[in-house]
Symmetry: C2
Subunit: 332 residues, 2 copies
């Protein structure tokens, strides 16, 4: 079944992990039986070890741990790194660092919003740190921004430790809904949004439903004709099997255009992250040629923060894929 | 002085290293006082720690160490990793892994060679592993390929452990010169080559001269009018100060076009690597629009190995830069 495939991928990755003995050898457990990521490699460094990328780990030197907590959904940690600024970690996986968060937040937001004229109603699923909100707020055509984040602690932690990211919540157009994104979408009247942005973590843990077919069906229903969705869609270097499944699902569900784009984020595994960009049946959307370029100066005045990463050239370039990925994605 | 600036950058990085205490705390020394990279983190993992990227390290799980040696120029190691195939390490820094070497080798070669019509004489400086030769050999217009590598042990180790990379040496058009690239270039008659590819390691160790102004002057002299050079040019995320210096030097020396391009390579620090692409005065070269597209089928027949990464779309996309990098590079 298509909706089980993402799970299957994770199972495959878990099998790899067992084969490689990653979890046994590399992650210590603390007194409560939780993985103790801080002390697992060099003392004083944080290492990102996961069955999603077996056999490799990126480490950052820790200056100070600023927060460690356990919400109803996940382990949350914030630390001051020596060269990447403050770092937000969920269940042992880096979500944002102050040094490179611009690449992810700007691309996941402006790739969809610059591809349609005058977006007015936008929904963000996940994205509790507020960074996507900050970027959506640059678009003066936008009248209303809903965000549905499952984990209130992520929102609170971001407001406390990442004010330049959580600044997105200060925009008066934003309404925060704390709850399950899947349930929220089911209750949305048909054709409500111009754009939906799914800023999820990996398909292990609370985000796993966001990679399955029923979720994409709800997204399509919630969009107006010719509306667009952009979802976090993993790495072409590490997760082609997950990407294959997502692309196959999206081609069945979204009757407009279906595209894969990607960008560089140094602190994400393999250094890249991808996005699925799809549109519903209706006015055609050509994602590769943005019709709604964001005016750097206007956006700067509005948000008091210049774009660091996104521009119209890099928008189009993001859809150009290496041959090995192009072959797989275009065959779906 | 401009030619000292790359050195200055390294000094700055070294200062950062001392401030962060990376070398003291994280790299053990073996009995002979050499850094012991294998045992520096978790036993059984290789970790890449360097003053060039302070405060972070990428680690690969080691299945087996296949070779460790010390040449006249550097420490050389080959290991079998658990998920990236065989890995070549020089002075503790990953040069190639079997899993992602395609991205680097194909881009550093085809970006210059697809940008000019009918390249005939090509010089490779560095690139002792042979991967660039393999890619140059795909171009049927090429009649002669010189390679000047300083370290014979790199050539021998590659031939022994990386046959799919060192296969480049089997092409009858190749002549290997073991020696110093700087001296080799000085002896080259003016206007000899259509293209020069500088496949160097970082500007610490044997490759440091390859980042300085006198070297670029020799390259310009060795090229025909409208000839092209492509040099390894570090990461926009980590080394903007080095890149600034290289760009400033190149704008003074190359009177044709001067461009910066980049690509993803997961096992390089920050996950990306860049290239300086310049042309000498003469027939104009528009690097962003390749005039000599490589025919996938023809190249496949000739080399018996399909292109995995490069295509004409990704060629043009490689010149699109994030705003933060574009601003600095275009201001030089």
């Amino acid at each position: 079944m298509a909706e089980e495939s993402a799970d299957m991928s994770v199972k495959r990755a878990k099998q790899d992990e067992e084969d490689n003995g990653v979890s046994e050898s590399a992650v210590d457990m603390d007194k409560e039986g939780n993985p103790d990521y801080i002390s697992s490699l060099i003392p004083g460094w944080f290492s990102e070890i996961s069955p999603m990328w077996p056999g490799e780990a990126h480490s950052l030197k820790v200056e100070k741990i600023l927060f460690q907590g356990k919400s109803d959904y996940q382990n949350i940690m914030v630390f001051q790194s020596s060269t990447y600024g403050k770092v937000l970690v969920l269940d042992g996986v880096i979500q944002i660092t102050e040094r490179d968060e611009c690449a992810y937040q700007e691309m996941i937001t402006h790739l969809p919003l610059c591809s349609i004229p005058n977006p007015k109603k936008v929904l963000v699923i996940g994205g509790g740190d507020g960074g996507v909100l900050r970027e959506v707020a640059r678009h003066s055509s936008v009248e209303h921004i809903d965000i549905c984040e499952i984990d209130k602690m992520v929102v609170d932690v971001s407001k406390q430790f990442f004010p330049d990211v959580a600044v997105g919540y200060e925009d008066p157009r934003v309404t925060l809904h704390v709850g399950d994104g899947v349930a929220f979408l089911k209750a949305v009247p048909e054709g409500t949004y111009d754009a939906v942005i799914v800023d999820s973590s990996d398909p292990i843990g609370p985000a796993q439903e966001l990679f399955k077919k029923p979720f994409f069906e709800s997204v399509a229903k919630a969009l107006r004709p010719g509306g667009v969705v952009c979802t976090q869609a993993e790495s072409i270097w590490l997760h082609m099997h997950i990407i294959e499944d997502i692309v196959a699902n999206c081609r069945q569900i979204f009757k407009g255009s279906v595209n894969y784009a990607w960008t560089t984020v140094p602190t994400y595994p393999s250094g890249v992250i991808g996005f699925m960009l799809c549109s519903t049946e209706g006015p055609p959307v050509d994602f590769k040629h943005p019709v709604n370029p964001i005016d750097a100066e206007e956006s700067q005045i509005k948000s008091k923060r210049p774009l660091k990463f996104y521009n119209s050239e890099i928008h189009s370039a993001a859809f150009c894929l290496p041959s090995f990925a192009k072959k797989v994605i275009e065959s779906k």
